[in-house]
Subunit: 397 residues, 2 copies
Amino acid sequence: MLSAIEARATILSNIAPLGSITVELGHALHSGLAHDIVARVDVPAFDNAQMDGYAVRSADVQAAPATLRLSGEIAAGSVAPQPLRPHETMRIMTGAKIPNGCDAVIQQEWAEAKGEDAVTFTRSVSPGHNIRKAGADIPAGTTVLSRGRRLRPQEIGVMASLGEEFVSVYRRPSVAILPTGNEVTALGKNLPPGKVRNSNAYTLGALVRDLGCDAVQLDIAPDNTEELGARMLKGLREDILVTTGGVSVGKYDLVKDALESLGVEIVFWKVNIKPGMPLLFGRYGDKPVFALPGNPVSTMVTFLQFVKPAIEKMLGLEVEERSSRKAKLVHEYAKKDGKRHYLRGILAHENGEAVVRTTGPQVSNVMTSLALANCLIIIPEDRELVRAGEEVEIELL
Amino acid sequence: MLSAIEARATILSNIAPLGSITVELGHALHSGLAHDIVARVDVPAFDNAQMDGYAVRSADVQAAPATLRLSGEIAAGSVAPQPLRPHETMRIMTGAKIPNGCDAVIQQEWAEAKGEDAVTFTRSVSPGHNIRKAGADIPAGTTVLSRGRRLRPQEIGVMASLGEEFVSVYRRPSVAILPTGNEVTALGKNLPPGKVRNSNAYTLGALVRDLGCDAVQLDIAPDNTEELGARMLKGLREDILVTTGGVSVGKYDLVKDALESLGVEIVFWKVNIKPGMPLLFGRYGDKPVFALPGNPVSTMVTFLQFVKPAIEKMLGLEVEERSSRKAKLVHEYAKKDGKRHYLRGILAHENGEAVVRTTGPQVSNVMTSLALANCLIIIPEDRELVRAGEEVEIELL
């Protein structure tokens, strides 16, 4: 059986970023950049005052105290009407462009007004004092952000400071969600005996929207190959199809047959994990298809481990490394099935140390365990016993 | 001067959650619950089979091997047409409701078909074997989620499993964003000498949307009390007004005067922090008003430290504890100004240990430092020297 790591690599090797589109910068949040951003201008664009003070030629105050003639004032956003001539000074505000001739800005604390037209400086300064040079933050020509970069608020701000009003980003995939099973009943309908609520479609819809993508909710499909196929075809109009339930080995597990009858290529079925073992991954042309198991916890775990990285790759993002974080497991954990286990965990920081414990029973239909959890604890295939106090890999939820 | 902790407490004490509204469950992601969710039903709603197998009366297989008459089949979502009588068994699928009379489900591995009408069981089982009891995940009457809970995908899933089609959540505040300053120029316009781009409005808009709230962008206000006032009045139609720039002590810093002339009560001005010292917080009736400094880094840091918790409280969420996480600072850091410093940091995990370094120069207008950063490093007021290897508080970005 495929390992989790092999399954993930197989999925990613079958997926490419979607095409790029141009959007207004304000709409690019959390998209993946589709091209490098090279600064066309210096930021700041001009030498400017780092604080409120006086623009001077530093040579003029070499032998401080020195008195200079006050020849003007420069507010932020305005420019001096004339250059700064020898033995002159100008009042200057934070961020204002320094006048030609000026090579230093002296803070107010070192200056005393002499009437209306002159200022005495009590200290000498070196050239460049209190001046922010043009390009000090970003020199023109610098590659500021690279293709594949996820645009957080600060990246949006950097692009705005460069004047990039429009930006090319990867298109976001639309994700069709298809719950299956005779037992699954829509919210708002009476719940007959033996039936359960359609909770997976809600969990998945929220997970998809968390990634900034559109979730297209399909009607619940009954356990009937023809009706399943019809619903799947509708879902395959979107960029990704995700089904839940009906993918195990039971008599009523028809999802695999239905996918095959539509011409979906089954890339793999079953992964050596717990929960989530019956996971299926296929392709319909370029479109990825995921059949997730129907137990609520299996559904969410397999989405996070396998569908999320696929979506990230389609978004053109560098796919996040899984499980780079570690914490000390508070209690012992034993298993013998040779599977990779994903436990719902509660991460806390105690005495400056990251510690983690499970939420309690790890039965795969206990959805409340996920509501208690703030992380997944990952126990690799070959570990049979983790002792209390040992470090384990975790992934934040 | 107010400390950061006092400033934050003052802000929160001046703010209350907005009113609650009822929304369809699928639209409640990341909202704050406005009431407790008490389970009206058991989840699961009925005793059911934990795996595919055979429904039996455990007494019938006490003296295994035992052969029972096969009297039917129960698929998930269906119910047995008749009870399970003594010496009978029924095929049952995972999740299906067990028939009356049944008290155990025997897995297929321990069963052998005897023709079409009988099954021999090779092992005895105890009552309850392979049965998930009604209410095992959530017993009816349990308070599953409490008021103020942030609704992540898994909470949405739990509510769906309870059949909660609609949910009462706190209304999301709309946030007016008002950039100020003669030097600030809109994107898409020519950038005259001495002017800078309107980057803060983009950063703030993205930060606001990250919290799930609407950002209402106002036109840039020039340094002119009348025009500032007119723009502010427009902004005060929204739930929160956030301005940037013009809040320091310079001749052209008119934001405070303009707010006062509109009748905004100034609750505090200036906080003992770096960057971001000139931060102002006020109230216009019940509406909070934040005047953030205009340096891009100050703007983002003060938003995260002071505006974000305010929005979280208005959203009815338990406000996140600041800085519960720690990491080892790789290098030394010294300061003497008695202020709380927020440094842009890069957190990494090396040899299983959380380590952090600054992004480099911490000048407050270097916006690229925030694009490099994945956390803020917090150095308290009274620390003058942090040695390399010492632990520091961090907040993830």
